[in-house]
């Protein structure tokens, strides 16, 4: 079992003929993901890698291939429209890898997607992977292995680091979800925690947060009141200065709020085991099984 992505995932790649889109489409196909369609306006009728039909629009792609999941690799200025298009086509899960989507765009995109009953993951995220089954996005498949741990993270490479520690210790993953580092994202920690709590295969959850905002504090409250499975957490940015954006658009301490200390305190209050460093994930999980 897993969350959001499984053996029924039928993927359409938006921007499949672009540099990033074509590279990662191949990677996803090599991993075994069912890539059923690609979209590039004007290339409808062509074929990607001799196997995947390309369409002019997501609507056509979904109608003709039954795609139920979309992954977006288009440039930032086209990303909002790509999300609208996927939602309008009735795709249930939309994963936006693109970085640099203006946050005011997201204030209009987010309610649109929700109204149309779709789930958005990202933007500016590495996507998600259900090891051994399917990957949607850019998480390197070789560092993952199937198993009982759910992973949710605001980060990219930091997630890989933690997953790598897990895999090396023989602790496989149900699904690893990178929710993205922007201030406004489609799927929150809580959405993922809820899904992991409901997923029978997930026995414990690793949550990787960072400075900025209050998502981790709200997630901690959710863990405290609604979760029975053990949760281990990490917060990146203990040494970050206030007022400076630490790479991610969302990773910024504004005034006195959004600090790592505040978030780690919230974790502790919620009974979440707090990692001091990525390598702590293994012993902390072992203690809790």
């Amino acid at each position: 079992m897993s969350v959001f992505v499984d053996g029924n995932t039928r993927l359409v790649v938006q921007g499949i003929t672009g540099r990033d889109g074509s590279f990662h489409a191949k990677q996803m196909m090599a991993y075994g993901t069912r890539v059923v369609a690609g979209v590039t306006p004007g290339k409808g009728g062509q074929t990607f890698q001799d196997t995947v039909p390309i369409f002019n629009t997501v609507a056509e792609a979904a109608a003709q291939t039954g795609a139920n999941t979309s992954v977006i690799y288009v440039p930032a200025k086209f990303a909002a429209d790509a999300i609208f298009e996927a939602a309008d086509a009735g795709v249930g899960l939309v994963v936006c890898i693109t970085e640099g989507v203006p946050v005011l765009d997201m204030t209009r995109v987010s309610p649109y997607v929700k109204e149309r009953g779709a789930r958005l993951i990202g933007p500016n995220c590495p996507g998600l992977i259900t090891p051994g089954v399917a990957k949607v996005g850019i998480i390197p498949g070789q560092i993952c292995t199937p198993g009982p741990i759910g992973v949710v993270s605001r980060s990219g490479t930091l997630t890989y680091e933690v997953v790598y520690q897990l895999t090396r210790a023989g602790m496989g993953q149900t699904t690893c979800v990178g929710i993205g580092g922007d201030p406004i994202i489609g799927t929150s920690f809580i959405d993922c925690l809820e899904a992991f709590q409901a997923d029978p295969a997930t026995k414990a959850v690793v949550m990787i947060g960072e400075i900025g905002g209050t998502d981790e504090q709200q997630a901690a409250e959710f863990v405290r009141t609604r979760m029975t499975k053990p949760v281990v957490g990490f917060i990146a940015g203990q040494t970050a200065p206030p007022g400076r954006r630490m790479g991610h658009a969302g990773a910024i301490i504004s005034g006195s709020s959004g600090t790592a200390a505040e978030k780690m305190a919230a974790f502790e209050h919620a009974g979440i085991a707090v990692m001091q460093r990525p390598a702590d994930v293994v012993p902390l999980l072992k203690e809790r099984r």
Binding site: L104, T107, D215, M246
Partner: protein, 382 residues
């Protein structure tokens, strides 16, 4: 991207918000001329730096005459506020104030919407108001699909002014502030204080606008407002090389791919008793040239005693990073010890490249950080 006060004032003025006249000066003599042009009365001289607490730091002063304005500007220009040198001052007539309010709009992450905040307790830091008298802050969530609705603007304005006349003036200002916020692609736009004068006019005395960096491409006129002299030169250089770099106070220089891993690396340096010298994210797509630039910037920081690479290959290819390191050592002398941690995509190729020039690579992050911290301490002790 932060705008200077004088830039923010100009944007609000163009949006139709009443902002008193003003002028900027980069020399005391210019300051005198601006003060004269403003009418030779009492003026306020304000340092234009991207730092809060300018007033407390002595960067905001009154001057009774153009001559005094000149002397005051001479004191403020060149001053350092939170490490930033003042290159420009703003001069504006000292305002008569009947009451001061705060109005601002931010993108609120929790509600995924712009949120307006207003308070009749203006002129002071809004965080302080929130902490001490939260009942004096009033909020309204804006549905971005609709913008600030007229009734919302008027409802907020009635929180500031009892009478309908000033309330309608303030509502109009709120509408225009929202439009300026959207038009600039801002994540924050505030007026503090919004002043009611003894004659009943409502005017914006100070303004702050922070623009979402992701909007700069489609707002070239806003992007053009960037003032490189107001920033750390090494950070400007890094941005031009497409690197995200923030200089800190420590001595372990860090080169990492990915923002989260970069922060975690800094944290781990601290965990093992060191102090990170910087945040540096070389980003996703790897490119040896980026690594060369990163090393240039880091070695230019004389406080750096040891350099730590922490690369988790995914899209970033480890061999690209290794090639960059080798290229940099050929282009210039890297006179500080380097510790390299590499794992993931093309790790093996990278190790071979490094070994070829006599460099080593580790695969464990903790091990690498411990070594780098130790080397920095050794160098500091030496």
């Amino acid at each position: 991207m932060n705008l200077h006060e004088y830039q923010a004032r100009e944007l609000l003025r163009r949006a139709g918000i009443p902002v008193p006249p003003d002028g900027v000066a980069t020399t005391p003599r210019e300051a005198k001329q601006v003060a004269e042009r403003l009418g030779a009365g009492k003026v306020v001289v304000k340092a234009q730096v991207h730092a809060g607490g300018r007033g407390k730091a002595g960067g905001v002063k009154l001057a009774d005459s153009p001559e005094e304005a000149e002397r005051t500007a001479a004191k403020i220009l060149g001053m350092k506020i939170k490490g930033l040198t003042v290159h420009t001052v703003l001069l504006a007539p000292a305002a008569e104030i009947a009451s001061e309010a705060y109005v601002g709009v931010i993108v609120d992450r929790a509600s995924q919407s712009p949120v307006f905040m207003v308070s009749p307790a203006g002129g002071i830091d809004i965080e302080e108001v929130a902490a001490t008298t939260p009942e004096k802050i009033f909020r309204a969530r804006v549905d971005a699909r609709y913008g600030l609705l007229p009734h919302q603007a008027l409802g907020l304005a009635f929180r500031l002014y009892h009478d309908v006349g000033p309330a309608r003036q303030a509502a109009d200002i709120l509408q225009k502030l929202y439009r300026a916020f959207v038009d600039a692609g801002a994540s924050l736009a505030e007026i503090n204080p919004l002043v009611r004068t003894p004659r009943g006019e409502i005017v914006a005395l100070d303004a702050k606008i922070v623009v979402d960096d992701s909007e700069l491409d489609r707002h070239p006129e806003i992007a053009a407002l960037r003032d490189p002299t107001a920033e750390e030169p090494s950070e400007v250089q890094a941005r031009e090389a497409n690197l995200t770099y923030i200089r800190l106070e420590g001595d372990v220089g860090c080169v990492v791919n990915g923002a989260g891993l970069a922060m975690a690396t800094m944290d781990l340096v601290k965990y093992y008793g060191g102090e990170p010298a910087n945040f540096l994210d070389i980003g996703g797509s790897s490119n040896p040239e980026k690594v060369v630039n990163a090393l240039k910037i880091i070695t230019a920081d004389q406080d750096v005693k040891a350099i730590l690479f922490n690369i988790f290959g995914g899209i970033t290819r480890c061999d690209d990073v290794a090639n960059g390191i080798v290229a940099a050592t050929r282009q210039f002398t890297v006179d500080r010890p380097i510790v390299i941690r590499l794992t993931g995509t093309n790790e093996q190729e990278a190790v071979e490249i490094l070994n070829g020039v006599g460099m080593k690579a580790l695969t464990d992050m903790d091990e690498a950080v411990k070594q780098a911290v130790g080397l920095a301490k050794g160098a500091a002790a030496a």
